[in-house]
Symmetry: C2
């Protein structure tokens, strides 16, 4: 039997869905406008910049960006065309490949970061109290755990 | 000067971004698999089903689904091809158009709803306490207000 949402759950779900899609759209639009990249590319650059030697195995990069292999491969091809990322074969694993962040890619990330962080702060943190930020972290962790299990 | 995120804000933002993108991806995949439609189409059908006469002016439908006119028009063309929605010219406004939900569209929505609601319940409400649901509603309202202002 379907466990339908009651009125309060319906209201919470709609507010949550609307706020997240609006926020993600806004981040995407502003990054595209200011830095010429969608948020998905920005996230790949961030993950690589934080990895040892600014380099990561493609399979790990896919996990860390919650991306399918094919979607990631498509994005990395675009990033390679801009000179921001370079793919490199693994020495010890003929099937594996690494993605390396280039100097140009790191510079593009550094240029994009201030505007992006400002958007996140303006639309996520400024409207919330510190207590709500903590609540949001716990709520998000619980949802994440459910989706990953 | 950039107002960078501190460690806690960074952690909250990453958990929030990861949980929302994972959840939206999951909803999209399950609706696509079970009902042959992405979540964006489902939302259009829901909004029409709740409108008077199951019909809405295209411009209002765009606002209610937080969609650009061109993105909505593209989706409605696809929904028309399935016989789920029909566009109709306004009698009193030559430039305006209505989108009407058809009987087939309403039936498609009814068939898709139980599975979709179950996914939302499993991954959003089951992992949260009632108090967290209330917190999430308030947090989402605050983010929405910031994005709409």
């Amino acid at each position: 039997m379907t466990r339908w949402l009651d009125e309060e759950e319906q209201a919470a779900w709609r507010a949550f869905y609307s706020s997240t899609t609006l926020l993600i759209d806004r981040l995407d639009r502003e990054l595209q406008h200011d830095a010429g990249m969608p948020h998905a590319y920005y996230e790949i650059l961030v993950v690589l910049s934080e990895s040892q030697g600014r380099s990561l195995r493609m399979s790990e990069l896919a996990i860390k960006t919650r991306s399918s292999r094919s979607r990631l491969s498509h994005a990395v091809t675009k990033l390679e065309a801009r000179g921001w990322v370079k793919r490199r074969d693994c020495d010890d694993d003929k099937r594996g490949q690494f993605a390396d962040l280039t100097e140009e890619g790191f510079a593009a990330l550094e240029a994009a970061a201030p505007g992006h962080v400002e958007t996140v702060r303006t639309h996520l943190f400024d409207p919330l109290t510190p207590q709500q930020v903590e609540q949001l972290k716990q709520i998000s962790d619980a949802i994440n755990a459910s989706l990953k299990s």
